[in-house]
Subunit: 593 residues, 2 copies
């Protein structure tokens, strides 16, 4: 019942029919990304995810990772799976070609990553973090640093980590205390980092930590943070791992979920300081951190929808199998899928999964365009859209993942509460996604502060205009009218809320940032609802053109309609909360609690 | 940080000022329930809950209950706490006076029960189930059965369980297979029951199982179910436990939460049949089951708000202590309580807890009136209101509990995901409340089928009229206009949705029952929002009368306003989903998944 089946047809629909892989493969550098290659990769990835990663998901949860005498041992089977992962060339799928990667676009990489996360989220965190570290070294490393680290990291022979958090410095990086003192061509790093995902593992012969720290002359606050490359083993001239560096795993966290992923407390410099290499310029660590963080945020958004789909598949399988009661309108006992409320829950999750999938892949597509679009104006527009979408993808898809995993449990009734069923694990695993790589509130701060207010609403207006421009096409294709009607209300709500926040930022900053998460949700519903509406349009046109896949396309329309009629109404409420709820927000002062 | 403090002032506000304990204590049999007695009980209960039950909550989660050679061992400290519970006379607080109970009204019992659940939900499930069993035996037991079992059960010297579920019969009790064969003055019971909360324990010398089973001549379906009293040890003539009955604990479930509560698989009749005594008439077990079930449903609703409050208290304590970043509008680093989004989350949970508390206590009050009101018309009206409120309390308060526990984790950031913090346990524990004693969908079926449709909407109309009648008073008291405005919209939404469901029941039963859970939420927001509005009115009048507790009453108004402006908007969306979403619901046929 907890088998995972990659939803290949749904993925292909989004990539090829809704978003258009063909346009991406016309961009410089992405010529390989043809429909045929996509199909071949999808099939292979499905085989690997279903056959190798998924079967280790429950055992990884049960066994977890352990720390014995300073060494992390991952759950049984994880190392062998990682070996296969590297051998299969999966780690470098979207990695830079100059360091051995395949350089494929995110539009191809996102569905593959979705499969891995859905199959085994705890496992896939390891390559997720490696990828972020690769992006940072690629963006700012000297040629020498790149040559020393990137080939092994792109191949996955070495993994990467992100070391940001310290006990007193979580969301508030200004409070960082880890220090870096120059010594010849390197630095000596001293300090303690917590919540380090795959901070140690037994997969690979080396681990490359990217560590935020302060130089002795650093100004206070976030403008005094620098980023360092700190390998677990120093690298010899021949490229092989040599002497052990001064970094030690102190403990592993005992977490609600993702037990298969070792979350480490790392101590740097117990024996005089770990050797580290400055990445980029001194005191410019925050900017670089955002490069790796944004890559990770996008991936965590994919993770959110992946776990939602996995939870959906489990609940659906149970609902098809479990016979209970005589459903309304039937005369005999039947699988609970026929009970109205079970159908309502599954419809809601299915629609949300598909909406989040479209949203996340679209964001990946915008990243591709921002990277490869030759026309400067189009490239800039894609970059702006990508910047706008990143916090929305991260926030909305992960909140959707937690919501979906929670809803899915309800389908099982009492069995959902029993760990053996597996449904509870999805909720426990999903629950971290709205927290790490920046909580939903941090995403909302980014969205409101850097994306909405900073440019006076220009990026948001451009998005809303694109939504409006799509309305005639939707109606011309003959999708059910509730779909464009809901979208029109949603864009109005988004415009109204945006205008209000822009107007209130100076006078009521507290209420504006207090409305950040509702605003993020509103934008999430808007963009995902827009893509669902366009899915319905694509499907309506396919049906009009006489496709043989009538059931598939009719269901696409029905799902988009369900999303419009049972989901998109949230936009009005969120708008009202944002626009009319400021005074009651202010009234709940700190003394009220 | 995980201390529990009973919110005595808030509880007293609801019981005395909002609902009016004085009116209940005027009813026959409730004369003892004075304000003074209430205060005294509250203080004692707080001391016991905070000092004895709460400190065992985390250790109970970690240690759990274990089955060794057929015997259940509860977590360390649980038995001693239970002894204190019984010695303190807590078990019989609302129990029947003729069997040693104190016969106090539910309006007094509900806040006490809230404290126990908030302090230690896994522990308190044991008396919760005992109470349901007491109600059933009291309602239908022969004088001899009552005399044999009730004194020990009311005192808590013996506990009670509810044995409904079988592997093939969960929500669908028609599928029950457990059999009862007559043998002299008793029956022999054979079958397997699962999910039996406290099906075995080491607290007491006997356990009284209430078991649904079929007689040999039983008609099929739910009309062939009878209810039996099956003690773990047969009772001797002198009332002491004698020979072991033929019931055996096969295993304990491995659950997401409530680890301190042993959830048993029980086998009846491995050695020829357990001795059981028929309760009430043959084939009338379903009706009796509803008596104990309704008592349990009310209590589980209280549990939902209790766990929400416990989660709130933990998150608030963390938010007051954890310093991180410089909040918007401030110039120095400050506790995260000052960050707008943390304040938004805590405001939302606080308002929902208070709304659910008012809703649950009000339902308790209606139970009291239905029991003791001497005027037949008023008694009938109270019974109808109580019947209407039970599924709403169970469904809405437990869904709120899960929601609140999930939101609370977000306040902690990464620390919320670490089990040592304690926040994750509240979510794991809360997650069962929307499932057991009837899932939210089962509550919604009850609400729509038995409470709305059966009387053609009369009960709902009476409720809506009461809400409408309260509007002038709210406005006269000068509460912020958004409060009555939101309530007016909510009652309109409830009326519109009710009318739609009544009109559609015959033609589109699937869509009607598919709208059940949204309808339950709508009614939950309506009734809780009504009580919050009336809280604001009480507070406004107290302020106008020159109370010295100005901060307390101002916060009551601010909280009600926050609920109105940031919560009640859901009513419009839910109404739209119900009224306009039927076709898209139907379109998602079983083949769509």
């Amino acid at each position: 019942m907890n088998d995972y089946r990659a939803p290949l047809r749904d993925m292909a629909f989004v990539v090829k029919e809704l978003l258009g892989l063909a346009q991406i493969s016309r961009l410089p550098g992405f010529g390989d990304a043809t429909d045929d290659l996509f199909d071949a990769i999808q099939e292979e990835s499905a085989r690997f995810s279903e056959g190798v990663l998924a079967p280790l998901n429950r055992s990884g949860d049960l066994e977890g990772a352990h720390l014995t005498e300073g060494v992390v041992h991952t759950a049984p089977g994880f190392k062998e799976a990682y070996d296969q992962f590297v051998t299969g060339g999966w780690n470098g799928l979207t990695g830079p070609t100059e360091f051995g990667g395949q350089g494929l676009p995110n539009l191809v990489g996102a569905p593959v990553e979705e499969m891995w996360h859905a199959a085994n989220m705890a496992f896939t965190l390891c390559p997720l973090l490696t990828r972020g570290a690769v992006e940072a070294i690629r963006a700012a490393g000297t040629p020498e640093l790149q040559a020393r680290f990137l080939p092994a990291m792109v191949a996955g022979r070495w993994t990467g980590t992100m070391n940001l958090t310290e006990p007193q410095a979580g969301s508030d990086l200004a409070a960082l205390r880890t220090r870096a003192v120059p010594e010849g061509d390197h630095y000596r790093i001293t300090g303690q980092k917590i919540f380090i995902t795959y901070g140690d593992q037994d997969f690979t012969e080396n681990i490359v930590h990217l560590v935020l720290a302060r130089l002795p002359d650093a100004p206070p606050g976030v403008k005094g943070i620098s980023l360092f490359v700190v390998p677990k083993f120093l690298v010899r001239a021949d490229g092989s791992p040599g002497e052990r560096n001064d970094v030690r795993t102190v403990s592993l966290e005992h977490k609600l979920g993702i037990h298969g992923s070792p979350t480490c407390v790392l101590a740097y410099g117990d024996a005089g300081g770990a050797v580290g290499y400055l990445l980029g310029q001194p005191h410019c660590g925050l900017e670089l951190m955002f490069i790796m963080m944004n890559a990770a945020r996008f991936s965590v958004g994919v993770q959110g929808l992946a776990i939602a789909d996995r939870a959906y598949q489990g609940a659906l399988a149970y609902a098809r199998e479990r016979i209970q009661g005589v459903p309304v309108g039937m005369t005999e006992r039947a699988p609970i899928l026929h009970h109205p409320d079970v159908r309502r829950i599954l419809s809601g999750i299915k629609a949300r999964v598909e909406a989040c999938r479209a949203l996340a892949y679209h964001a990946g597509q915008m990243l591709d365009c921002a990277h490869a679009e030759p026309d400067p104006a189009r490239r800039a527009a894609a970059q702006a859209r990508s910047d706008l979408l990143t916090p929305i993808v991260k926030g909305f898809c992960t909140e959707s993942g937690v919501w979906a995993a929670n809803e899915a449990i309800q389908v099982y009734g009492g069995m959902g509460y029993i760990e053996e069923t597996g449904a509870a694990q999805y909720l426990r695993d999903a629950r971290i996604t709205t927290i790490y790589e920046g909580t939903t509130a941090i995403q909302a701060n980014d969205l409101v502060g850097r994306k909405l207010l900073r440019d006076g609403g220009a990026m948001v207006r451009a998005l809303c205009q694109d939504v409006r421009d799509s309305l005639p096409g939707l109606r011309a294709a003959g999708v059910p009218e509730s779909i464009p009607a809901a979208l029109e209300r949603a864009v109005l709500a988004a415009e109204k809320a945006s205008t209000h926040l822009l107007a209130s930022a100076a006078g009521h900053p507290g209420a504006v940032f207090g409305a950040g998460v509702p605003y993020l949700h509103l934008m999430g519903w808007l963009v995902s609802g827009w893509l669902m509406a366009r899915s319905a349009e694509v499907a309506a046109r396919a049906l009009a053109a006489g496709t043989v896949e009538t059931d598939f396309y009719r269901t696409k329309i029905a799902t988009a309609r369900f999303y419009a009629e049972h989901g998109m109404g949230q936009c009005d409420v969120l708008c009202a909360t944002i626009v009319e709820g400021g005074a009651s927000f202010d009234a709940m002062a700190a003394a009220s609690f």
